[in-house]
Symmetry: C2
Subunit: 158 residues, 2 copies
DNA sequence: GTTTCTCTACTCGGATAATGCATGTCCGAGTTTTTGAGG
DNA sequence: CCTCAAAAACTCGGACATGCATTATCCGAGTAGAGAAAC
């Protein structure tokens, strides 16, 4: 999976803690010492997926497009990694020695593809059940000082 | 995900239908018109994982190391793609502005990593619950002629 | 006819190139703020 | 002091290089089997 997914989710959490104001990509990148231009690329993808809204010019940046309860981890993963399944069936059963005879026997879906899709659906369901707000709650429970720490850092280096 | 996974599972099904005898990689590749040397590489990985046993020399090839009820799709995927998780947490929360203060605050696992791991565990559980024998049964139900067709093709082009 | 030895042909196995995608970087379009002059 | 305009600085946005993993390939080590010769 794309490494940018990790950066994107972390950035979403930070943006949620910072509230309404827009934060530039360079600032978000500096917080984790990440390559700024590349993180910008990922945030652009989140904006295209309507997870963030982007504001140009001075005092611009990115902000959450909707409350964190409405942003699932599935949304973020799809925005960064794309919605294509990890296992892509290329229908090799139709090629070579087995492919000649029954043309309509392949109307039924490939059983291997079905099994893989079933597993991937379970993965997607699990990701769709976890929102950014849920992750925020977990962090606030295990590390209560983090939200204030984030706010203070982004205020001090304004 | 690695495309070789698809080839590997199909080959496992065919080997199961063909019974005990060893089948060369070149023959299995010809059945789907796949690059022979590359499929050989994948089958080697399956052999290293004790899913197949390899036999050298004339009348050699690959055969299933154990009955198909004992081979899960998870085994095959791990053998080809490796057992590393799709989402790899690089602990960026410890870098940059947030990393300075509490060294032991990071004893607790990263919440994002936990959420991703939970989804991936569901995926793995689903794959581990499906065996090669299950997929065979599905195919025999939707396409009853396939097993005989496979056996005939591999016998004719001996 | 049986046994044994040699030779051949076939298969896996790992080492070796080529390609595609993820990673990383850069500069231009657009917009807001600022700032300065003029009224 | 207020208004207005122009310029400047800052931000996103997409186009442009680079590195590495997947894809693909090849040749050598080893082995089973066929075949011929000797008994």
């Amino acid at each position: 999976m794309n490494e940018g997914v990790e950066w994107a989710v972390h950035s979403c959490l930070n943006l949620a803690w910072l509230g309404e104001r827009a934060v530039p990509a360079a600032r978000l990148a500096a917080f984790y010492e990440l390559p700024a231009a590349y993180l910008n690329k990922q945030l652009q993808a989140l904006a295209r997926a309507d997870i963030l809204t982007s504001v140009s010019g001075p005092r611009g940046g990115f902000r959450l497009a909707r409350p964190p309860e409405k942003v699932t981890l599935m949304d973020v993963v799809v925005a960064i990694d794309g919605d294509e399944p990890a296992f892509r069936c290329t229908e090799i059963r139709q090629r070579g020695g087995s492919g000649g005879g029954d043309a309509d026997a392949y109307r039924k879906p490939c059983a291997i593809d079905a099994a893989m899709r079933k597993a991937e659906l379970a993965w997607r369901r699990e990701l769709a059940g976890q929102t950014v707000a849920d992750v925020m709650t977990t962090v606030e429970h295990t590390n209560p000082g983090v939200p204030d720490k984030v706010r203070r850092w982004f205020d001090d280096t304004r």
